[in-house]
């Protein structure tokens, strides 16, 4: 293990702890807005975690999974916002 892998191994528990805390808020959020907001933060952190894991395991192809995650969560935001305003799903 060189410098990069050792330092990333020190920083990994920060990301994992925050993902667990976001997950708790996503399950027990009082309204649907809180749940979607928590899933929003969780997915962006998951994208960052995947890029960092690609650096840790020396697998550059893991970067491909980060872009669809970032695009998917934006479409989820827009769908939920449209559903809350109009009470119908978009075509």
């Amino acid at each position: 293990m060189d410098l990069v892998q050792t330092t990333i191994l020190i920083f990994l528990p920060l990301f994992l702890t925050s993902i667990v805390l976001y997950l708790i808020r996503a399950v027990k959020g009082p309204t649907i807005g809180d749940q979607i907001l928590a899933i929003d933060s969780l997915t962006y952190d998951l994208a960052a975690l995947l890029v960092i894991l690609g650096l840790f395991f020396r697998e550059p192809i893991l970067i491909v999974t980060a872009i669809p995650l970032a695009l998917w969560i934006y479409s989820l935001d827009i769908y939920i916002a449209k559903y809350l305003e109009k009470r119908e799903m978009g075509e």
Binding site: G33, D40, S41, I63, L84
Partner: protein, 124 residues
């Protein structure tokens, strides 16, 4: 020399991102209602996702152990950070607007709500 500087810079950005993620996820539990939790989401997306991906991309450009695909990882990482930088504020703004217009959550603490005066919760 330059390689060492870039690697230290990238690792510092990754550490800053992890710390900001932890702060944002604690804030997700400390704030009281939906509109206040938007602050925590801002910290968690921009500081906690955009900056670590930029740092990882900077490392990937000069990290020889990744093999011949390291330029793909660096370039795609920069594109991902740009996508998140553009889409995260737009998504959370649309969500906040929809929640306010559908009258799910009361604004609290509130001084005056010009958009919908009935939605004003407990005053300061």
């Amino acid at each position: 020399m330059l390689k060492d500087i870039i690697i230290y810079l990238g690792l510092a950005l990754i550490g800053l991102g992890g710390l900001s993620d932890l702060i944002a996820s604690i804030g997700m539990h400390r704030f009281k209602n939906f509109y206040l939790r938007l602050h925590a989401t801002t910290v968690g997306t921009i500081w906690g996702a955009v900056f670590p991906i930029i740092g990882a991309s900077l490392i990937a450009f000069v990290y020889d152990e990744l093999g011949s695909y390291r330029y793909l990882m660096g370039g795609a990482g920069l594109v991902t950070s740009l996508i998140i930088l553009l889409l995260a504020p737009a998504g959370s703004h649309a969500l906040a607007r929809a929640v306010h217009r559908s009258r799910i959550v009361k604004v609290s603490p509130c001084i005056h709500d010009e958009l919908d005066p009935e939605l004003c919760g407990d005053k300061i």
